[in-house]
Structure formats: structure tokens, C-alpha cells
């Protein structure tokens, strides 16, 4: 556990000491802000029965940026260490591989949260500036925050695994990009060529990030997406652990 916190601190520090962190943060705050304004404008033109929060988070546009974000923050985790050979020093120190994997993962999740957190400043800011009455309840805020956390846990785990699979950061980034995107679009399969209400539609809905976020951003906390994201993240991290350990016996 000691080693976990030391490695966690080191990962966080190395991320926030690099210019990449600030570029990504600025870019994302800008993108999200621009999207937020577009949403407000759209809702001015057309009356919506949904809250601003619901509309923002269920919009496909909001998630486009995330296809880039996850590769950017996860690609170097293991690929860089393997490329430079520093993994050898790291894993011959008295630390468990699980501590290394979890520390890198947890630090990246924190980085992700720091990057997306400003989104939640938009809502109170909007209200202060416009003096509009509260158009959403706190449940929606907490629910969507939980949704963003879950999506982050899951996608950072994808990136962590991809980064462990290769010594090339670019390949790690591409793999993450492809799998983050595939997973996102998996949820849309329910809409294609199938009768609504069929087993296919119902089944595919379980994978739909959009569906999950919709229910969460209405303040409805369903245990199914929670278990879905947490269990898949765990499995992905277990695979990462396996990949790192496989260097020992790979021929």
C-alpha cells in the first residue's frame, strides 16, 4: 500500500509537470464550454422538456472529445516505461505489479477527473450570470457526475491495458481510440435493423453509454451501469496485470 501511494504521487506529479496536461485541460474546458453554449442556444430556439444537464451529457458531441482524451492521457503509462527500459528498474524494486498497475490507473483517473471537473462549474456559473431559476435538481448533477466517473474508470482501464500491450505510444493511443469508440457505438447497435423491444435491442441497451448517462443525468441511479463499468474496469485491470507479468514467461 505504501508503494502504491508513492507511485501514485509520482505519476500525478509527472503528468502535471508536463505541458500536455495543461494543453489537454485547456482544450477540453474550451470544447465543453463551447458545447454548453451551443446547448443553451439550442434550448432557446426550441423548447425542451429535458434539463440542460440531460441535454448536454446525452449529446453525442459531448462524447466525441472523449475518444481523443482517453488515448492522450493513457498512452504513455506503460508504453513509455517499456520503451525506455525504466520498467526494469521499477519492477525489480520491491513493489508488487498490482501496486504499479493500480497506482498508474488511479493517477490517470484523477487526471481525468481534474480535466472534466470544470464542466460542473458551468451550471452554477450559468445560473449566477443569467439569474435563471434552477432548471435542474441536485440529483441530476450528482447522477451525471457519477456517470462521468464510471465512464472514466472504464475507459482509462481500456487505455491502461492498451498501453501495457505495446512499447509504442502511438499504437497504444490508436488501440485506445478504437476501443473507446467501438464501445461507445456498441450502444447504438440497438437502433439498427431490429424490432424495438426485441431481445437484441434490450441486450444492446446494456452496453449503451448514452443510455446509462441518460438515466443517471435524470438523477436515477441504476445499479446496472454501476456494476457494468466497475466489473469491466476490474477485468481490464486484471488483464493489464497479466500482460505486465507475462514478460516473465513469454518466449
Amino acid at each position: 500500500m505504501r508503494a502504491f501511494f508513492i507511485l501514485f504521487g509520482k505519476e500525478l506529479r509527472s503528468f502535471f509537470l508536463s505541458p500536455l496536461a495543461y494543453v489537454v485541460m485547456a482544450l477540453f474546458t474550451f470544447l465543453n464550454g463551447w458545447l454548453f453554449i451551443s446547448m443553451v442556444k439550442a434550448m432557446q430556439l426550441q423548447v425542451s422538456s429535458r434539463s440542460l444537464i440531460y441535454n448536454l451529457f446525452s449529446s453525442g458531441w459531448f462524447w466525441m472529445g472523449y475518444f481523443i482524451l482517453f488515448p492522450l492521457i493513457t498512452m504513455r503509462l506503460f508504453a513509455e516505461e517499456r520503451k525506455m527500459g525504466t520498467i526494469e528498474g521499477l519492477l525489480t524494486a520491491p513493489v508488487r505489479t498490482s501496486e504499479v498497475v493500480l497506482a498508474k490507473y488511479a493517477a490517470t483517473v484523477v487526471v481525468y477527473l481534474v480535466i472534466v471537473a470544470p464542466v460542473f462549474l458551468f451550471f452554477p456559473l450559468f445560473q449566477t450570470v443569467t439569474g435563471e431559476a434552477t432548471a435542474f435538481h441536485s440529483g441530476a448533477v450528482w447522477g451525471s457526475a457519477l456517470g462521468l466517473l464510471l465512464v472514466g474508470l472504464f475507459n482509462v482501464a481500456i487505455g491502461t491495458l492498451a498501453s501495457a500491450l505495446t512499447t509504442n505510444q502511438l499504437i497504444a493511443a490508436m488501440l485506445t481510440f478504437v476501443f473507446v469508440m467501438l464501445h461507445y457505438f456498441l450502444g447504438f447497435l440497438q437502433n439498427f435493423g431490429m424490432v424495438p423491444g426485441s431481445a437484441w435491442t434490450a441486450g444492446m441497451a446494456y452496453f449503451s453509454t448514452t443510455e446509462h448517462i441518460r438515466s443517471l443525468s435524470e438523477g436515477l441511479i441504476d445499479s446496472r451501469p454501476v456494476i457494468y463499468y466497475l466489473s469491466f474496469s476490474t477485468v481490464l485491470l486484471a488483464f493489464t496485470h497479466l500482460v505486465i507479468e507475462s514478460r516473465k514467461w513469454r518466449v
Binding site: I6, M84, T86, G89, A93
Partner: protein
């Protein structure tokens, strides 16, 4: 300190380390010597728990490399080949991080890092970013990292690789000094290096141990007798008998005899320089000479000879042609 039994590492279609057994006692400086690709790094990686063995077992500092891998790693300071470091960290920051993950507390870390930097003469660069350091300094940072938690055993993989001659000399001095406090296992492919620093040498080639002895004994075994060429005016005898009687001379043979001059090849003991005694004989006998020269056989040459003389039975069968052409055997043949 190290007890390896039948340690084996197989990669697909290739046995990198073939059932080697050796031991290293506490306080020894042992050199792990072999040509590139002999299996040195693989062995060291197994001992430091970075790779698993395909067979056999090893105990390091009394702990099994499988069962108590964490305990083994706690007691070993390892400097991997080419000294990988985090290039964007500062020297002191890096060493503090390494000391911390090796289990030192805050207070202990501060003194341990200071001490390691002193030992490795890193004063003055502690605030520098590692990427900006020269190769020699990087190597010293790696060494400071290896010894920061005062491990019982230091394992250094080619510690002088890529350094200039002056830096090599400095790092040898440093390793010798460290040997007073730590047991050290260093790997190298440079023979003269182990000759200067190590108390014992293990020679490994193609995954097998070929010899394990003190450098002095190995030199005796490996080095071809040196030779001195002496050309004097006059016949073969009695000069030949007189030359053979000089201390350190093993054998005297005649190279040629013409125009009243005779040239002798005098084989000498590799550990005994007989030239002065030979010259003393020349003066005493008032010989007229026109050549007195030594042809010392190099240790490296002898070492290479040894490796080529006895190819292990397993690889001898698969290697049909000379080494140089093995990369493109088919196209070259047709």
C-alpha cells in the same frame, strides 16, 4: 549470497541460459564474463526477479526468487544494462523516488540519498534534469540508485558500457570501493575489466558456464605464453641452453639461423616478465644482439580462443557454417 541451481531460461527455439549453477559468497566481487548474447543479462534478470526461469531455482540473500520475490528485491540493488532512468526527473528527485519505493521512510531517504550522491560523486548535479546529463553522470545516477537503500548485494549489468576510458577508470575505482561494503556481481564482456576489479570470474558462453576461477588463475589458464624474440650473432648452442636457464623462461626455440645470426623465440611465463633477466644475460655474456622484443599474447585473444575452442555440443550441431555467413546462408550459397 547467491545460490543458483540448474537455472535455465528458454525462449522460443533457443536456450538463452542452459542449466547453470553457481554461487556467490558474501563479500565477494564476482565478474560475470562472456561475449554479447551469452546469456549474462538474462541470468541477472532472473536473479533480480524481472524474468522467471524456465527451470531450476536460485536463492538470493537466503530468499527464493519465486517464493519471496519481494524480499529478494528488497535486498538487491540492480543496475540494468544501459541504465534506464526517467529523463524528465531531476537527479535528487529521482533518487528520492527510488529510495522511497525501495521502502525507506522520509527521514531515512534524505540521509540515504545524500550518502549515495556522495559515494557516486554526484554533488553539483543534484538539481539537474537527468536528460541533460552526460553518459558518465547518468551511469553514476544509476549506480547511486542501485545502492541507495544499502542492499546486501549489488547486481550491475555492464556498468562501464559506453563510457570513455577516463570514466571507465573512475567507475572501476568506485566499484572496487563499493566492494568493501557490498557483495557485487557485475557482468561485462571486457576481460581486462574483471581482471582489475573482481576477486572471481564466472565465464559464460552460449548459456553455459565455461569457467569459474580467480582472474589470476584464469589468466594462467587462458593466456598463451608470452614470447620474447632475441636475435644474436653466433650459433644455436650454448646460447639456447643459457636462455632456457633464465627465470620465467618456459621454452626456447630457434626461428631461423642465417648469415651467422640466430633468432630465438623464447616462451615465457605469462605472469612473469623475463625481459630484464634476459637482458642481464646478454650483458653478462657480452652477446652481440640486433633484436630483443616481446610479443605479449593478449588476454582477450586467449579468451576468444577459449570460447571458440570448445563449442558446446548442443549448439555445435545446429551451427553448420562459419559465424559470419549465418545471417544469410541460403542466398549466399546459391
Amino acid at each position: 549470497m547467491i545460490e543458483a541451481r540448474q537455472l535455465t531460461k528458454r525462449y522460443a527455439g533457443r536456450t538463452a541460459v542452459d542449466a547453470i549453477s553457481f554461487h556467490v559468497e558474501k563479500g565477494e566481487i564476482v565478474g560475470f564474463l562472456g561475449p554479447n548474447g551469452a546469456g549474462k543479462s538474462t541470468t541477472l534478470r532472473m536473479l533480480t526477479c524481472f524474468l522467471s526461469a524456465s527451470g531450476g531455482s536460485a536463492k538470493v540473500a537466503g530468499y527464493d526468487i519465486y517464493g519471496d520475490s519481494i524480499e529478494v528485491r528488497r535486498r538487491v540493488g540492480y543496475m540494468p544494462e544501459n541504465v534506464p532512468l526517467y529523463p524528465d526527473m531531476r537527479v535528487d528527485e529521482y533518487l528520492r523516488f527510488r529510495a522511497r519505493i525501495k521502502g525507506l521512510g522520509w527521514r531515512a531517504t534524505r540521509s540515504a540519498v545524500g550518502e549515495a550522491m556522495d559515494v557516486c560523486s554526484l554533488a553539483g548535479v543534484e538539481k539537474k534534469i537527468i536528460a541533460t546529463l552526460s553518459k558518465g553522470y547518468k551511469q553514476r545516477v544509476g549506480l547511486a540508485d542501485a545502492l541507495v537503500n544499502k542492499p546486501d548485494l549489488l547486481i550491475l549489468d555492464e556498468p562501464t558500457n559506453g563510457l570513455d576510458p577516463n570514466q571507465i577508470r573512475q567507475s572501476r575505482e568506485l566499484i572496487k570501493r563499493l566492494g568493501e561494503r557490498h557483495t557485487i556481481l557485475i557482468s561485462t564482456h571486457i576481460l581486462s575489466e574483471v581482471e582489475m576489479t573482481c576477486g572471481r570470474v564466472i565465464i559464460i558462453d552460449r548459456g553455459q558456464i565455461r569457467a569459474s576461477d580467480s582472474p589470476r588463475n584464469l589468466i594462467r589458464r587462458l593466456r598463451k605464453p608470452g614470447s620474447v624474440i632475441l636475435e644474436r650473432q653466433g650459433g644455436v648452442e650454448p646460447a639456447k641452453t643459457q636462455l632456457a636457464a633464465v627465470a620465467g623462461v618456459k621454452e626456447v626455440s630457434v626461428i631461423h639461423e642465417r648469415d651467422g645470426w640466430t633468432s630465438f623465440a623464447i616462451a615465457t611465463d605469462p605472469l612473469h616478465d623475463a625481459r630484464e633477466d634476459l637482458f642481464a644475460l646478454v650483458r653478462r655474456e657480452n652477446w652481440n644482439i640486433r633484436e630483443l622484443a616481446s610479443r605479449a599474447a593478449s588476454l582477450e585473444d586467449a579468451f576468444v580462443d577459449l570460447l571458440q575452442q570448445q563449442p558446446p555440443a548442443t549448439t555445435a550441431a545446429s551451427t553448420s557454417g562459419p559465424e559470419e555467413t549465418s545471417d544469410e546462408p541460403d542466398t549466399a550459397g546459391e
